[in-house]
Structures are given as structure tokens and as C-alpha cells.
């Protein structure tokens, strides 16, 4: 990994009225790095990406992207980056080729270079045979692939992807992953990805940040993060009449590191899960609980995620609906 920084963010903050969507976030991304931003819905991922890509002005703080300050030189930043926004933005009324061609002209790329680049990229994303079909006839996965190819037309230094596989079927998701991995191998492209799919971050990213309620909770390689949580394995138990007593008793077992409980479910962070499972079940039984089901699984980034962000669904701030125009217009809060 090179020392040169592709992205330097210091104390960036975005407020929408009283809501703080991104709260004093600082981090650095090295050139050529695949950097992931993980977080639940409403954590501030999209707001952050929009600030880094000049679409939103930060309330406070500073961000340098592709060697330029996002607030002072937005045009220069835009020339150096390629962004795949969360929503599908390829033009339905145009063919795949036309989408890419017009986009390339937005960057002032000459005709011959454009042609070569587009056919190379279409080949790469496997859309050559459909290049002259209207995008309206594409599936979600095809549109996403086209959009990834489209933002590469001008050879950006940094690629931003905002939840690129959201709403895609597992096959398409894997195709997109394969594409991104290929991109990483190809050149010194820096990739910044936000996602709430753990396996996505685990499969792709060199380093991962977990963000929740606008704040960075933890940053490191997937391995570092997994090593940070106690216990190697997790036993999930479903217990009828789960009580405080059962949880306290379980915590006293020597191989148990941590217990999370919610309703009738327990997540127990343990060493050697498979071997210690019977002992844990015995302990629960003797404390008056009835084990309905039990599973043992190895730590994944998902567990890291749950470990740091908790299991409850976020109470998201209600989106604003204008009284005057009604809900007909979605008020963009940038998240």
C-alpha cells in the first residue's frame, strides 16, 4: 500500500436542521486502497459520500479528495472521481452505449478515445452484446454493471460506490463483486464503498469503518475488527422464558466472554463454540430456561457489526414531508 493519500477527511460534519447526519468524522484512505464504510440504514453513509463527491456542502470540517478540497475546488474533484450513486441513474431512454458515450462527453473525452474505452469497458462488464439495446430493457443487475462501467470512462483516480449491490439478486451481486475485485487488480484505482452487507465488505475491502448515528465507531482491516471482539465463536440460543438470572449465570461460565440478549434470543460470545455448547445449554436449563434452538457460528464481520452497533433497528429520524406540496415530493435529506 502506498503512502499517498487519495482521501483525507478531517472533522467533517453535516447537519440537517437539528439532525446531525454526519458527526465529526475523520479518516484517511491511501491511494489504491479498497475502503469500506459499513453502517446500518440512516447511519450517514450516503450523506458522507455526497459530501466527498461535492453534492452536499459540509456544515463543518474539511475533505480533500483526489488532491483537491471538495468545497474550494469542486470542479477539480469531480474530474478526478467516478461515482455510482445508490439509485439507478442510467438513462432508460438511451441505449447502453449511448449512456456511456454521452457521459464520456461530459468529461470532454475525444471521440476516438471514447470509442475504444467504451468497447473495452462494455466487454469488461459483459454488456457488449446488449450495448445497442435501450437501458429500459435491462435488468437491475445489468443497469448496475453499466453504471459501474460508465463512471470508469474518464479513468477516475477514485471510484465511489454507494451501496452498489442494494436490491440486486445474489447472482448479480456476485457479478458486481467480481467486477470490483477485477478493478482492484487492474490498476492503482482507489475504491470507496458504502454498504450494509457484511459479506460484501469482508469480501472486498482492505480496511473497513463501521459508522453508526453519524459517528465512526471502529476502523481497521476486517481481520483486526474480528480480533477485537471477545470470543472466536458465537452461540445463538433461543430460550423460552429468558430471564436476567439466566444471563448472569451464563456470564459466569469460564469460556463465555460476553452475552447479548434480546427478547428470547441470546448471543453468547465463546471460545470453542461447538465443544462448549452442551455446557452452556446445561447452565441455561439449570437456571430455569428452556432452550428451543441453538446454533454455533464462526465470527464474521456481521458479528463485529452487531457487536458495535447493537441489534435493534435504528430509530430513524422521520423524513420531512412538506405540508404545502404533500408527500408527492420526497424531501431529500441526503441519507
Amino acid at each position: 500500500m502506498q503512502d499517498k493519500k487519495a482521501i483525507t477527511v478531517s472533522g467533517i460534519t453535516k447537519k440537517f436542521g437539528t439532525i446531525t447526519a454526519v458527526d465529526d468524522v475523520s479518516f484517511e484512505v491511501a491511494e489504491g486502497e479498497f475502503f469500506g464504510f459499513l453502517g446500518p440504514n440512516g447511519a450517514g453513509k450516503t450523506t458522507l459520500i455526497r459530501m466527498l463527491t461535492t453534492l452536499l456542502k459540509p456544515t463543518a470540517g474539511k475533505a480533500v479528495v483526489a488532491c483537491c478540497d471538495v468545497e474550494k475546488e469542486p470542479a477539480a474533484v469531480r474530474r478526478g472521481i467516478g461515482v455510482v450513486p445508490q439509485s439507478m441513474t442510467s438513462d432508460l431512454d438511451l441505449t447502453g452505449y449511448e449512456n456511456m458515450d454521452i457521459y464520456g462527453r461530459f468529461y470532454g473525452i475525444r471521440s476516438r478515445e471514447r470509442k475504444e474505452r467504451i468497447s473495452y469497458l462494455l466487454e469488461m462488464v459483459g454488456l457488449t452484446s446488449r450495448a445497442n439495446d435501450l437501458v429500459a430493457t435491462y435488468s437491475g443487475g445489468m443497469r448496475r454493471r453499466l453504471e459501474i462501467a460508465r463512471v470508469l470512462v474518464h479513468k477516475p483516480e477514485i471510484l465511489f460506490l454507494d451501496e452498489p449491490t442494494i436490491g440486486l439478486d445474489p447472482q448479480s451481486r456476485r457479478v458486481v463483486w467480481g467486477l470490483l475485485q477485477k478493478l482492484m487488480g487492474d490498476n492503482s484505482l482507489t475504491i470507496f464503498l458504502t454498504t450494509h452487507y457484511m459479506e460484501e465488505a469482508e469480501a472486498l475491502c482492505n480496511r473497513v469503518v463501521i459508522i453508526d448515528s453519524g459517528k465512526i465507531i471502529v476502523l481497521g482491516t476486517p481481520e483486526e475488527l474480528k480480533a477485537q471482539i471477545p470470543g472466536n465463536d458465537i452461540i445463538s440460543l433461543s430460550v423460552a422464558s429468558l430471564s436476567e438470572n439466566i444471563i448472569e449465570k451464563a456470564k459466569t461460565l469460564p469460556f463465555v466472554h460476553k452475552v447479548l440478549a434480546e427478547d428470547n434470543a441470546m448471543r453468547v460470545y465463546v471460545d470453542s463454540g461447538a465443544r462448549n455448547l452442551p455446557m452452556l445449554i446445561d447452565e441455561v436449563r439449570s437456571s430455569g430456561g428452556t432452550v428451543l434452538s441453538a446454533t454455533v457460528h464462526e465470527q464474521s464481520l456481521e458479528d463485529v457489526f452487531i457487536h458495535y452497533t447493537g441489534k435493534t433497528i435504528r430509530e430513524e429520524e422521520a423524513k420531512k414531508v412538506s405540508f404545502f406540496v404533500g408527500p408527492g415530493i420526497p424531501q431529500k435529506l441526503g441519507r
Partner: protein, 371 residues
């Protein structure tokens, strides 16, 4: 039954939660009533009529007094007087006056001697409704002057009103052509330009080009030029078809075709940039739908395309003074039916240019380059 009610309830709820639609569906008929009512049945008022009186005699004075009474009473005219006959007739040709009444120097003498007195009335017959009104009122004013003498000897003493239509005959359908073209331009500008921006925003596609190095003026300018191309083609097509249908002659000088084209382009630019100012930040096509009806009513009907502006009440006349469609209609009518040259319609063109410039500046200023 439960299913039917569910469909009904869903629809009613949607309606209630969109106050703009609700308010507009109540306001629109009222706006229609106020604007349409006032721009159609209104009495013609303050039509500028110029009198060139070359006669110092009593009959001329009496005729003018008769007309003054109408000016003071029903206020149909605004009378002005000029010395120079050519200047007065020229003024009618250029659209400054609606009519010029020429009282020759021997008028009173001829009335007195009953030697077939005559007055000349030069009419701007392109505005058929106004000119017909003026013709009738002047005719009756002349008759009432005459009545003292009719009893004595028939005919020879009767004042002859020579009314001269300054322009070739324009029938009602032909007079609607400029309005039809302006309507085509309006609809064209509504469905191109800023509307595409609204649709992109609605579908979330604006994000993709806001992320590129395109500047504000690239985006606004590009959309305006593409809208201009489409709308101009539509307008020219509609123009030619309606000329064919109504039988307006095609044989005209090249400079006239050029001025027609200039007026169409300018009007399109004007309305496109106006739409950008109005729709620049709108994010839902529903709002465009509501505004289109509203804008059409307030721009088209008070433009003089169907009924002369002179018949409007004061407030609507004032509005017509800042309504770009009124200037466009006037320019097209002048070229089509009065064979006007560029200098004659320069006022209209200057207004359209200034309006476009102002709106274009506002459009670029108000357009947000960020989300």
C-alpha cells in the same frame, strides 16, 4: 365491497395528502373565471383613435364633440389629435393607433352646401373586433351630425364615411393563427427544457450528471438549446399547417420569413427560460401538471391572441404589459397581416430579448448545482 372501498379510500387519502392539488383544483376554476371572463366579454375601452382635423368649421367641431361624448361616456375611445395626416395613418399602420379619422378642410363647407361631404376613417382591420367597433361608432356619430339636414334634402347632404381598411382582409380564423403558434410554443417549452430536469430529479437521475464536471450553464444552456430546437420545429410546422388551413398567402418577402422565424425563436427562448425559473427546483411532475394549466390561462388568454387587449380591465391590461406572449402575438400579427418590417416590431423584439435575458440570468442563479 370491502375491496371497492379500499380502492376508494386509498385514492381519497392520496388526494387529501397533496394540498397543492387540492388547492389548485379549487383555485383553477376561479382563475379561469376571472381571467377568461375578463379577457373575452369585456367592453372595449380606450382604443387609441387619432383625429386629423383640417377643418376649422362648425360641422367638424360638432363631429368631434359627438366623439368626445363617447370618449367621456362609454370610454370606448381615447381621442388624440394630430396635424399631419401621413403621421396619423402611419401610426395606425405601425399599431400605435387603432384608427385615424381625417376631416378634410372643406368638410364644414360641404356639409353646409350639401355637396357630398366626406370624412376618411383609416382602420387597423387586423384587430377585427376593435375596428368593427370603431367603424360603427364613428358611423353613428356622423349620422347624428347629418340628421339636421336629412330632413331638408335627401342624400346629397349626407356625410359619406369613407372607411378604409389599411390592411388586406383578415378573417377570424386567420387572426387566430398567431395565437395557435404561440400556444404550440408554450406547450413545447413546457414539455422540454426544465421539464426534463424535473423528470431527472423525480427519477433520481440528476445525481449522475451533477457528479460530472458539467457547469450550471452547461446544464441550463444545454437543456434550453435542445428545448429550443424541438419547440421551434414544432412551432414552424404548426405555423405552416395553420397558414395552409386558413389560407394565409405564402408569398412574402424573405425578410418577413426571417422576422417570423426570429419572433418564434425569441418567444421560445423567452418561455423556456421562464419555465426554468418556475420549475428550476421542482422535483415532481405532478407540480408541472398543475402549473401548466395555470400558466396557460394567465399567459395565453391575456395575450390578445383571441380578443383584443383593449377590452381587458385595467389590472389585466397591466398584466398584459409584462406578458411575453402578448408581445409575441403582437409581433406575429404585425408581420403576418400588416406586412410589418423589423423596425415596426422592434418594441416587441426588445421586450422579448430583455425578458429572456432576465429570466436566463435568474434561471442560472436559482439553479442548484448541489442536491
Amino acid at each position: 365491497m370491502i375491496r371497492l372501498f379500499a380502492v376508494i379510500e386509498r385514492d381519497l387519502k392520496k388526494f387529501r395528502r397533496n394540498p397543492v392539488v387540492l388547492a389548485m383544483s379549487i383555485l383553477m376554476p376561479i382563475i379561469y373565471l376571472v381571467i377568461l371572463g375578463n379577457s373575452f366579454q369585456g367592453k372595449l375601452q380606450a382604443l387609441p383613435v387619432v383625429i386629423v382635423n383640417q377643418d376649422a368649421g362648425p360641422s367638424a367641431r360638432q363631429l368631434i364633440d359627438n366623439l368626445r361624448a363617447i370618449e367621456a361616456g362609454p370610454k370606448t375611445f381615447k381621442l388624440l389629435s394630430r396635424k399631419d395626416q401621413d403621421e396619423a395613418v402611419g401610426g395606425v399602420k405601425d399599431g400605435v393607433y387603432k384608427a385615424a379619422l381625417i376631416i378634410p378642410s372643406d368638410f364644414s363647407r360641404r356639409v353646409f352646401t350639401k355637396a357630398r361631404p366626406e370624412v376618411g376613417l383609416f382602420l387597423d382591420n387586423v384587430d377585427a373586433i376593435s375596428s368593427e367597433n370603431i367603424r360603427n361608432i364613428v358611423k353613428s356619430a356622423v349620422r347624428s351630425l347629418d340628421s339636421d339636414y336629412v330632413a331638408i334634402r335627401e342624400n346629397t347632404g349626407e356625410v359619406l364615411l369613407r372607411d378604409i381598411d389599411l390592411f388586406g382582409k383578415v378573417d377570424y380564423y386567420q387572426s387566430l393563427v398567431p395565437g395557435v403558434v404561440i400556444m404550440a410554443i408554450f406547450l413545447g417549452t413546457l414539455t422540454t427544457g426544465a421539464f426534463n430536469l424535473v423528470m431527472d430529479r423525480f427519477l433520481g437521475m440528476d445525481e449522475s450528471y451533477l457528479l460530472t464536471p458539467l457547469s450550471k450553464s452547461h446544464i441550463v444552456g444545454g437543456l434550453i438549446i435542445s428545448g429550443l430546437t424541438i419547440t421551434t420545429l414544432i412551432a414552424v410546422f404548426i405555423f405552416i399547417v395553420s397558414m395552409l388551413i386558413t389560407g394565409i398567402p405564402f408569398s412574402r418577402a424573405l425578410h418577413q420569413w426571417a422576422s417570423i422565424f426570429i419572433v418564434i425563436i425569441l418567444t421560445t427562448l423567452c418561455l423556456l427560460s421562464l419555465m426554468f425559473v418556475i420549475l428550476g427546483r421542482v422535483g415532481h411532475p405532478r407540480i408541472v401538471g398543475i402549473l401548466s394549466g395555470f400558466l396557460n390561462v394567465i399567459l395565453f388568454f391575456p395575450s390578445g391572441a383571441v380578443y383584443p387587449i383593449a377590452s381587458f380591465p385595467g389590472w389585466l391590461k397591466t398584466f398584459a404589459k409584462v406578458n411575453p406572449e402578448a408581445y409575441a402575438v403582437d409581433a406575429l400579427k404585425s408581420i403576418l397581416f400588416k406586412n410589418a418590417t423589423i423596425p415596426v416590431i422592434s418594441g416587441d423584439i426588445i421586450f422579448l430579448l430583455c425578458f429572456t435575458g432576465l429570466m436566463m440570468t435568474l434561471a442560472i442563479l436559482s439553479f442548484k448545482r448541489t442536491l
